[in-house]
């Protein structure tokens, strides 16, 4: 006798949970609509690369090593942009593998002072994946850009560009091959 009563209670609780989750899903959908109307969706905005599409990264003044990179992402950051500041603050002394930072600044020293606040010191090994470029150079190479701008590089070619609107998207840029590549022990070939 106890078992059917227990099952009935479980079924009733599950019905309650079903109804509550349904109501919650509806509330989230309403919020999503509001966010869409307000332009608050956390979604990268694609940017046309134009004539730079499929060109080697060095054509943009990026590090020549990227011309032979299988997969990498160059992220353009500007001190004046709020999301860029959040991204730099989140770095905490390191840059995710496969990511290169391109700081748009007139002064190399000022750029590194800014990065230094996030633990990225000039001359440190991590800073080898930091490039500094002037606003004029960027204007010449890419035209007017909004930051943070991420340019994806595949097999030594510029493939896609997008404006990233959050830290979450920045970390989502870490190339999958970097995170999923099998770890081959040293000395083992193939």
């Amino acid at each position: 006798m106890a078992t059917p009563v227990l099952f009935t209670i479980v079924a009733l609780l599950a019905i309650g949970e079903f109804l509550l989750f349904g109501a919650l899903a509806e509330a989230y959908r309403d919020l999503k609509q509001i966010r869409e109307y307000s332009g608050l969706i956390d979604r990268p905005m694609p940017v046309e690369l134009g004539p730079m599409q499929d060109q080697p990264p060095s054509i943009l003044g990026l590090h020549p090593g990227l011309d032979s990179a299988v997969q990498a992402v160059a992220v353009y950051l500007d001190r004046r942009c709020g999301t860029c500041q959040s991204i730099v603050r989140s770095l905490n002394g390191g840059i995710p593998e496969g990511i290169w930072l391109v700081i748009i600044d007139e002064s190399v020293d000022e750029a590194f002072t800014w990065l230094g606040d996030a633990g990225l010191e000039k001359g440190s090994p991590v800073a080898s994946r930091v490039m500094i470029t002037s606003p004029d150079a960027v204007e010449q190479q890419l035209g007017g850009v909004a930051t943070p701008l991420a340019i994806e590089i595949e097999h030594g070619r510029l493939t896609r560009a997008k404006i990233i609107t959050s830290i979450r998207q920045f970390y989502g840029l870490v190339p999958a091959t970097r995170t999923l590549a099998p770890q081959v022990p040293e000395g083992v070939i193939g």
Partner: protein
């Protein structure tokens, strides 16, 4: 369990699961179904009645299966609901009305061939009901509780995903 009995049980369980989800979603928010009924040409006061009657009929059908009511009653309810769904879709197509189906609550999907095509399945579920092997109430309520738990989980997963998206947007907009 013989093949026929297993097939009957599967059909009835599937039909019951569909009616449970659909009935609970419609009863939670009746407005999409009322809007559908109005779109089909029912006067507002009858549309409001339909907005309650249809989900109640769906849940009553489930209750008759679980409670072990006479099988022909459950079978008749399965068939009747299938006929109501298919005839509504046929009516909308015949009169050229583009009406949201409200099959599982609010939806952008329109009433159409899908509901007409599902009629044989509802009739089959009704027929399967008559050939269902005998079972005790404890067995039926046990299966219903397990099924209901699975439905609740299936309802929770997309909700949690929506919540994560909302949190991502909040971080993007506010930084924390």
């Amino acid at each position: 369990m013989p093949v026929l009995a297993l097939a009957s049980t599967t059909l009835v369980v599937a039909g019951t699961a569909v009616l449970t989800w659909s009935g609970l979603e419609k009863i939670r928010d009746r407005s999409p179904l009322i809007s559908t009924a109005t779109g089909l040409g029912l006067p507002r006061k009858y549309a409001v009645v339909a907005g309650t009657a249809v989900p109640v009929a769906e849940l009553v059908t489930v209750a008759t299966v679980v409670a072990g009511a006479p099988r022909y009653l459950s079978a008749a309810l399965f068939a009747a609901l299938g006929i109501v769904f298919a005839s509504s879709a046929a009516w909308s197509m015949a009169t050229g009305r583009k009406v949201a189906c409200a099959c599982f609550g609010a939806s952008a999907r329109k009433l159409g061939w899908f509901q007409v095509g599902a009629l044989p399945l509802w009739l089959l579920a009704g027929w399967a009901m008559t050939g269902l092997p005998g079972s005790s109430f404890a067995e039926r309520i046990g299966i219903f509780a397990a099924g209901m738990f699975a439905l609740a989980v299936a309802r929770a997963v997309p909700t949690i995903r929506l919540g994560i998206e909302a949190r991502g947007d909040r971080w993007a907009a506010g930084g924390s």
